[in-house]
């Protein structure tokens, strides 16, 4: 898998080189472009937030620099906390929901965590510069320059949202490519066809994104800009935006833990819709800074420690592995239990990691 999925700084697939036109299509069509090129199946799109394509994306607001940063990085995992994790369903909390999601105890799963890569960061950089000016123009006092902003209906905001949609589309496409190569790897290694293998997409959900959505506020429907930062969408049963197959149980919510503990699949709830604009947490959250984590890891062979517990970590530099040790993160189980008890997500299954690729 490590050979098949480019991970780490500077790595890329030699067979995926995009022309300017193709890049434009990726930014407009997202995962739909990947499927049109033979990466995955049309059915996959039913199981991706927004069907893998946010329609208001406009590449005119994505700079040449962003194109340049993104072009070599499509189909790459990236470094830091990005990963591909092979796991197994260790515990089922909600049989009905698990069945709807085709998950059962003992089943092997793969979780992919990556996004819009350098392209998204360049979109952010470019638009921060514009929004710094806009903040002055609209006389908004900023506590911190990183929080620069403009009113949502303004020209500046509309352009940023159009560029952000392109970055989200790039991310949908990126994950679709990687998911395809995961499939391919399993098929090659296990000498099994896709049907016998049964690796199917459960769900692909965004985090760190702002979206225009309709929510009920004080008894009436209002159009809002919902910014999910460190958060992910958690729409309830019967929402039209949830795939039909999951409509009775709610939208799948993927909450990765750290590489040594576990990860969770939840479903969205009506309470989340009422209390958090259909959102819940996206991960465990860090406890230690990367520097502190490295100190804790000093003198230990983390890879060996994890291997002794049946978790194989590959690809990452020693530095990344030290930064990403379990102790650096809050215990995801505690975080998920809070989410579950608060009612803004309902536990479905717990996944135990077996193998992790990190960038």
């Amino acid at each position: 898998m490590l050979r098949n999925i480019p991970s780490g700084v500077g790595s890329r697939r030699k067979d995926l080189k995009l022309s300017a036109t193709q890049m434009h299509d990726v930014l407009v069509k997202g995962a739909q472009w990947a499927v049109s090129q033979g990466y995955g199946r049309a059915e996959d799109l039913d199981y991706i937030e927004e069907a893998g394509c946010i329609s208001r994306g406009n590449p005119d607001y994505v700079s040449e620099r962003a194109h340049k940063r993104g072009q070599n990085q499509l189909g790459t995992l990236g470094s830091g906390n990005h990963f591909v994790e092979v796991g197994v369903v260790e515990e089922v909390y909600d049989e009905t929901a698990a069945r709807a999601l085709s998950l059962h105890r003992g089943q092997v799963t793969v979780m992919v965590h990556t996004g819009s890569r350098g392209l998204g960061h360049q979109v952010c950089d470019d638009h921060i510069k514009l929004l710094l000016k806009a903040s002055g123009k609209y006389k908004i006092e900023l506590p911190d320059k990183q929080l620069c902003c403009a009113p949502i209906p303004s020209k500046e905001s509309r352009r940023y949202l159009a560029a952000m949609a392109c970055a989200a589309n790039f991310a949908f496409c990126n994950r679709q490519l990687i998911a395809y190569w995961v499939q391919e790897t399993f098929q090659e290694v296990l000498h099994m066809g896709p049907r016998a293998l049964g690796l199917e997409l459960v769900y692909d959900v965004c985090h760190n994104i702002a979206k225009i959505e309709t929510h009920e506020v004080e008894g009436r429907d209002r159009k809002l800009c919902v910014h999910r930062k460190g958060a992910t969408r958690a729409f309830p049963p019967h929402s039209k935006l949830v795939p039909e197959a999951y409509r009775e149980v709610g939208q799948p919510v993927l909450i990765p833990g750290d590489m040594g503990r576990c990860s969770y699949v939840l479903v969205g709830t009506e309470t989340a819709m009422k209390e958090t604009f259909g959102s819940t947490c996206h991960g465990a959250g860090r406890l230690l800074s990367r520097h502190q984590a490295k100190k804790v890891a000093r003198g230990r062979t983390i890879v060996r420690e994890l291997e002794d517990r049946g978790i194989y970590v590959r690809g990452a530099s020693k530095g990344t592995i030290s930064e990403e040790i379990s102790e650096a993160y809050k215990d995801v189980s505690l975080v998920v239990n809070v989410v579950h008890r608060a009612g803004i997500g309902k536990k479905v299954v717990r996944l135990k990691p077996m193998g992790v690729i990190k960038g």
Binding site: N72, G78, S79, G80, G118, D125, Q292, G319, T320, E323
Partner: protein, 140 residues
């Protein structure tokens, strides 16, 4: 006593540093060293390639972000690792620099940390007691 060039500061989730210099030129040069030292050990970088850089911004602190973002752009697009930074022209709203380094060679270079972006979070550039000081938080 010679003042230190830079120091890293603890920041949950991200990585920050403070850089110092007796002149603005030295400050920007030291900040660039701190930036690349976070990615890789500077001593492993040979000075084989040279680039001329020009950056503009509305204010000095924004110029710092613009400067480091330019270096990140070179690294992201050309895999260029840099270790020598000579600021040849410095104004409040712009700088010119000659930078040297080499293209990353995975067989020799071990990346410590991948940097995603240079942020404006808790950013400052100021002069205190004759010493220029800057603080930058990197998104990693």
């Amino acid at each position: 006593m010679r003042h230190k060039k830079y120091e890293y500061i603890d920041h949950t989730g991200d990585l920050g540093f403070k850089a110092y210099g007796t002149t603005r030129e030295a400050l920007f040069s030291h900040a660039a060293e701190a930036f690349f030292q976070a990615i890789i050990s500077l001593e492993t970088i040979q000075q084989k390639e040279e680039r001329l850089i020009e950056v503009g911004a509305a204010a000095l602190d924004e110029l710092m972000v613009g400067w480091l973002s330019e270096l990140l752009f070179l690294f992201d697009t050309e895999h260029l690792l840099l270790r020598r930074f000579e600021i040849t022209n410095m104004k409040d709203c712009g700088l010119k620099a000659r930078v040297r380094g080499e293209v990353m060679d995975p067989t020799r270079h071990e990346i410590k940390t991948g940097i995603k972006a240079v942020t404006y979070h808790q950013l400052y550039v100021k002069q205190r007691g004759g010493i220029w000081e800057a603080q930058v938080i990197l998104d990693i």
